[in-house]
């Protein structure tokens, strides 16, 4: 049913539909609305789950790990500093190949303190071994959240569902909410073979000597690569039931014949679409590429999506100081060596919640035309605010 609902409330309802056994979370802006909504559902008896209000994000991640290790379906959500406080546990969860789902309400990382949206938090843990899916709108976030439980079960990999903090979490918009009965049929019960069970005792998280460690890492990597297929199949299956797609690995919109492409993750995509709709006649139309699966990184799908482009603008919502944009660098890496690889124009945008206006589309298209343009820039930084030596 189509409802006008705030993103966070919708996510909480989607999580509840997946009937998690255990939910643990710690408050942090802008994730808090999600767990508040979940606790209300529990308090009203509309959701039957063990809700554990922990004393830190570190424990939130640990509680869901402990629960998931016993074969329970578990969920947590966080943002920003919370992601970083969890970092050690995140590596631990994926290293043990335990199925789990976590929402990250993407937010900048301090210092300086910023409660506003960018991708610094999830980017900081890009190598933690989790599947990372980025949502462009709240419909995708709801659909991806439910899909994430199934992807996680099928791959025995934890899934991080990234949605832009505030921009999506705090936005009320029409969202098609699935039916509980549909979800019950679509999401099979969790069967985790390696679960802790007194009837069949296993030791999890043991010391592993150099004789075996490389093999463990290899199999983790191989599982991530195999997850590319699972992400697509699950999205197909979802489409078969709902008629909607969550975004697959990569989605292409705009002009398929365009020679200029713009690639973005998350909610920036909608603003670019609108910008092109309004300014496309003057600024030229581009091929818009939406990257949903950041981990595993869909190299083949990206190559296909970028085929025939002369220029590719890659938008990063975070910065790796001393390098530039991470998404830009990785996209450049997978396109490198292709006979007609496009020139990459990598721009960081909307850092720390800077509003991204629809005019950004025309500005980006103009910047492409500059043959001396930088390979990387913080595109919307106003350098006049800085002392000359800091520019």
């Amino acid at each position: 049913m189509l409802e006008a609902i705030e993103g966070s409330q919708a996510i909480a309802r989607a999580v509840a539909m997946c009937r998690p056994d255990v939910v643990a979370a710690y408050p942090i802006t802008p994730q808090t609305h999600i767990v508040e909504a979940l606790s209300r559902l529990v308090a009203e008896g509309e959701m039957h789950t063990e809700f554990v209000s922990v004393e830190s994000e570190f424990s939130a991640a640990s509680v869901v790990l402990g629960a998931a290790a016993t074969g329970a379906r578990a969920y947590t959500a966080t943002a920003s500093q919370g992601v970083l406080l969890m970092a050690e546990v995140l590596f631990n969860i994926s290293g043990m190949r335990v199925p789990l789902v976590m929402t990250v309400a993407n937010r900048a990382v301090s210092a300086p303190l910023s409660i506003w949206n960018d991708h610094s938090d999830s980017m900081a843990v890009r190598d933690c071994g989790w599947i990372q899916l980025h949502c462009a709108d709240n419909q995708e976030a709801v659909d991806t959240t439910i899909q994430a439980f199934r992807i996680s079960q099928e791959t025995e990999l934890p899934v991080m569902v990234c949605m832009d903090g505030f921009v999506l979490t705090h936005t009320l918009e029409p969202i098609e909410m699935p039916d509980q009965t549909d979800i019950d049929g679509w999401l099979p019960p969790l069967e985790f073979d390696r679960r802790l069970d007194p009837s069949d005792p296993k030791s999890l998280g043991t010391l592993v000597s150099p004789d075996f460690f490389a093999e463990v890492r290899h199999s983790h990597h191989a599982a991530m690569i195999r997850a590319l297929d699972v992400i697509e199949t699950v999205d197909d299956d979802w489409h078969a039931m709902t008629g909607r797609r969550g975004g697959g690995l990569v989605e292409v919109a705009g002009d398929p014949e365009a020679k200029i492409g713009i690639l973005a993750m998350g909610s920036t995509f909608g603003t670019l679409e609108t910008g092109m709709e309004h300014a496309g006649a003057q600024a030229g139309r581009a091929r818009l590429i939406k990257l949903r699966a950041f981990r595993p990184f869909p190299a083949a799908a990206l190559r296909a999506a970028c085929a025939g482009l002369e220029h590719l603008i890659v938008i990063d919502r975070a910065i790796s100081p001393g390098l530039g944009g991470v998404v830009g660098t990785e996209v450049a890496a997978v396109l490198a060596g292709a006979p007609d690889a496009p020139r990459i124009h990598n721009h960081a945008l909307g850092l720390g919640g800077r509003d991204i206006p629809e005019t950004i589309y025309a500005d980006l298209m103009t910047a492409v035309a500059d043959p001396d343009g930088p390979a990387f820039s913080v595109f919307d930084a106003d350098l006049t605010k800085l002392d000359p030596e800091d520019r």
């Binding site: 006008a4 705030e6 802006t29 009320l172 918009e173 029409p174 920036t268 509003d355």
Partner: protein
Amino acid sequence: MVGVMIEYRIHGRGGQGSVAAAYLLAATAFHAGQMCQAFPAFGAERRGAPVTAFVRTDEAPIRLRAQVRTPHFLIVQDGTLLQDPSIVAGLRPGGGMVVNTTRPGDEVAAEFGCRALTIPATELAEEVIGRPIPNTALLAAFLSVTGLFEIASLSVALRDRFSGTTLERNLALVEKVAATIRPDAWKEPADA
């Protein structure tokens, strides 16, 4: 304005229900069959600090995520915010503002050079709801003067959000305000 995306900006102070007003306006449009989007200018403000929220309504799905810079309409929940002349920044020509103040509408219209409607929403809310939350009265006034969406759609939105006595009193307030504001009761700026 059928077929055009309409943008709204709501100004208020923390604790006055400005974000709730934005959500209610968007939900009203939704129940009137429109697509909608509402979000706050995300801040870390505490009670009493100026806050802003944005709404968009359209026939078509809304993809744009930027803050509203050129609103068609302003809803101002606190008269003291009129001390800042930039409150009307970006207001489109022919746009209008609905303000919670006891000041006369033509005075506000003249000061800001735009169409204006003023109502003592805080007093009305205290009288009918028993709490100084001006958002419902302002929305009722806004819908009455613009005729954008049926008052009935606001009632549906209120029913989704409230229940019991709070709902009854809010519905009564909407009815009371709607009965007093004529369609197009804007005060025009003197020089218009």
